[in-house]
Amino acid sequence: MKIILLLILLANVIFGDDISITASVDKDIVEINDEILLQVTVSGNTSSLPSLVLPEISDFNIYSRGQSQSQNFSFVNGRISSSVSIIYNYTLTPKGIGKFVIPSFSVEYKGKIYKTNPINIEVVKSSTQQRQTKPSRITKYTSNEDVFITVTLNKDKVYVNEPVIMSFRLYTRIGFLRQPQYKPPEITGFWIEDLPPQRNFKEIINGKEYMVTEIKTALFPLSPGEYTIGKAYVNCVIDDFSFDDFRDDFFKGIFSRGKNITLESKPVNINVLPLPLPKPSDFSGAVGVFDIKAEVDKKELKTNEPVTLTITISGSGNIKSITEPVISLSENEFKKYETVSSLNINKDNYKVTGSKVFKTVLVPKKAGKLIIPSVKYSFFDYIEKKYKVSSSSPIELLVKQGPKEETLISVGTLSPEGVKILGKDIRYIKQKNKFTFEKPLLYKNFIFVVINLSLPIGLLITWQVISYNKRRKKDERSLRASKAYSKAIKKLKNIYKLINTNKLDESYATLENVLTEYIADKLGKGQHGLTKEEIRQSLLNKVEESLINDINSLIEQIHFIRFAPSNDTQTNLEKLIKSIQETISKLEKVL
């Protein structure tokens, strides 16, 4: 967890300005005649990387093998950040056997010094070289007439950063048995730039014709002072006899096994002068002859549309040390993005010339005529020994008001007007004096639970009550129906008694009721007012048609007997009762 936080903090630092510098070697144990590749990588998210400061390396000969530049774009939280890294390649050759230290390389950026770690190198004896070169056979041919070397500088007094051309020449009149091995002189305090290709030509010295091999190197002194260019060495194997002896001793040549010799040059002194004072305040530090040019890819555009400003500084001098010129743009008029630089070095005619191109994406914020002011670049001209300023011509842009939303899409990743998340953070604390407190749990509240339980319980009770009432009504009816027959028979028996005791009037009334009451009980209907038609209706689907007709005729007969009495009423009544009894028992079977 802490590591992550640390990473975040680190990341924040990187989003600011950060320079990192590392150095690495291909091996740390090396043989005396072998060479070490040293890579120094300077990277950072600024387009103008500071130049590397070389330390004093006394134990090794150091040669620049050029540099390569790479650029990375990354999008972090919607923000573009570019990082540039320059890899400086050097070849180191050891001067002696033992343990040595390659000191720190450093860069200075915004007042801070970034350093590499020193690297320990162990130099061991070479097993192979000892076999090749037998020490007893080495002869120094320093000023041999047939083969010699020279190291010369084209000037002996220079300003800091002024190029000096060092020429190494190998003069020979004889052939070599093997390709000679060249060890360049020790050079410290200079920026070294090889000037290929090597040149071969013939030169006549003192009447003798020599084959000359010339290797040129450009040196840029890094700081003022007296310097000595050390001795250069050439190791070569020549025929072990001189050219003149050839005729005298022919056979010597045939059996000659070659002679290993080491040639040595004289050291050369050079005086490096500091740049004259006073220096202009805007001095860029570049020494040479430079010219600045500014261009845009389009002059008519719309607001929020990107335009690329290309500034080219070209000339001769130490091109690599050219720093980004200051472009003074109004914050209200332009949005400026990171500058991307590219290097173009030309070494034609043994002169370091070239150009450095700075590309900056600008996005105009306002409509109208906007002016990119003249960009000035101040440098020291070592030929005229004066500080000079080269300035580009100002550029006028015609900016039209463009739609905001559309350009967001067309600009794409640059989207200057959209929501840009620059740094994600938590939301701010709550400061309103209005609080949401934790509330007691509802389900633990007794009243609440009781209310909730009472609802379904109440429902259940009501339902039970209603259904109980319904059931009870139904029960009453079935009881009545089951008792109907015995009740009717009982009544009929009573009527017999009434007839026997001659209470005929009463018996009529009861007789009429017996049948209707029976039917009403059976069907669960009210006992009174059951008419003939109603009986017919309610029985219609339950009993046969004939039985209904019988019932109806019986009722009519009762009515007839009651309202038209005759002498033989008693016997008629008894007949009637009998048929009623039969009908009821018939009904009892069906209903």
Binding site: L5, F437, E438, K439, L442
Partner: protein, 243 residues
């Protein structure tokens, strides 16, 4: 019905009983936070913890995050979230702070969404809602007892299903609230052992800020369960803080 209303009103007004010193303390702590004196702000906020307020929990969470204590920050955000599960600020900050917790298990979006839905309402809100649905359902059934109307019949079935689902949800939430204890790892290096003893082997390590379920307690040790990784282990009590 009236009783319920009165009861609810009582319930809500509970939150507005604040006293003056509480507010003063709160403002004091906020000022300390603004001055970036985070640990001091935490101390003042903590004096307000007796009345459990979402705002206090949230601000403590913020202060702990600024003080680079991810575990405690998550702990207090979780506490705040329990009171206000839909507060956008808490959710945003919790999500952001959680992004610093190294998760080994792949977060499945469906599971996360379901979990969010499950905890979308507070337990009280859920209980109340279920209770209202019960009320409506009972009303409908009462009506149906006396008048058999087809519309009421279908409505009752609909509300019945709704009530059933809500009841399961509510019961599950109540169970979670009562029996499932969650805790947050607050130490930067938490090791889970295979048994509640120091000399047992370490089964796994848990990142600070991770939410774990506590299964049981035994003298100074918690048995924890990591659902997404399906791991069980014993950790020391001081490593965890219960939400």
């Amino acid at each position: 019905m009236k009783k319920i209303l009165v009861f609810l009103i009582l319930f809500n007004t509970f939150g507005f009983s604040q006293n003056q010193s509480f507010i003063e303390k709160f403002i004091e702590a906020n000022k300390l936070y603004e001055q970036q004196k985070y640990s001091e702000a935490i101390n003042v906020y903590k004096e307000l913890l007796s009345t459990k307020s979402m705002e206090v929990y949230y601000n403590i969470g913020n202060a702990y995050f600024k003080d680079k204590k991810i575990g405690y920050a998550i702990l207090y955000y979780e506490k705040a979230l329990k009171i206000s599960p839909r507060d956008p600020d808490i959710n945003y900050n919790l999500d952001y702070v959680r992004s610093f917790v190294k998760e080994t298990a792949v977060q499945d979006t469906v599971g996360k969404f379901l979990n969010q839905m499950y905890n979308f309402v507070t337990l009280n809100e859920l209980v109340l809602f279920t209770s209202i649905i019960l009320l409506v359902l009972t009303g409908l059934l009462f009506f149906y007892l006396f008048k058999k109307v087809e519309l009421v019949y279908w409505l009752s079935i609909g509300f019945g299903i709704l009530f059933f689902v809500l009841l399961i949800w509510t019961c599950s939430r109540i169970y979670q609230n009562e029996d499932v204890i969650y805790a947050i790892v607050v130490e930067s290096l938490a090791e889970a052992k295979s048994a509640p003893q120091d000399d047992y082997t370490t089964s796994f390590t848990i990142p600070e800020g991770k939410k774990v379920q506590i299964l049981q307690t035994r003298d100074g040790w918690y048995e924890i369960f990591l659902k997404s990784e399906n791991l069980k282990g014993w950790v020391k009590k001081e490593v965890l803080e219960i939400i």
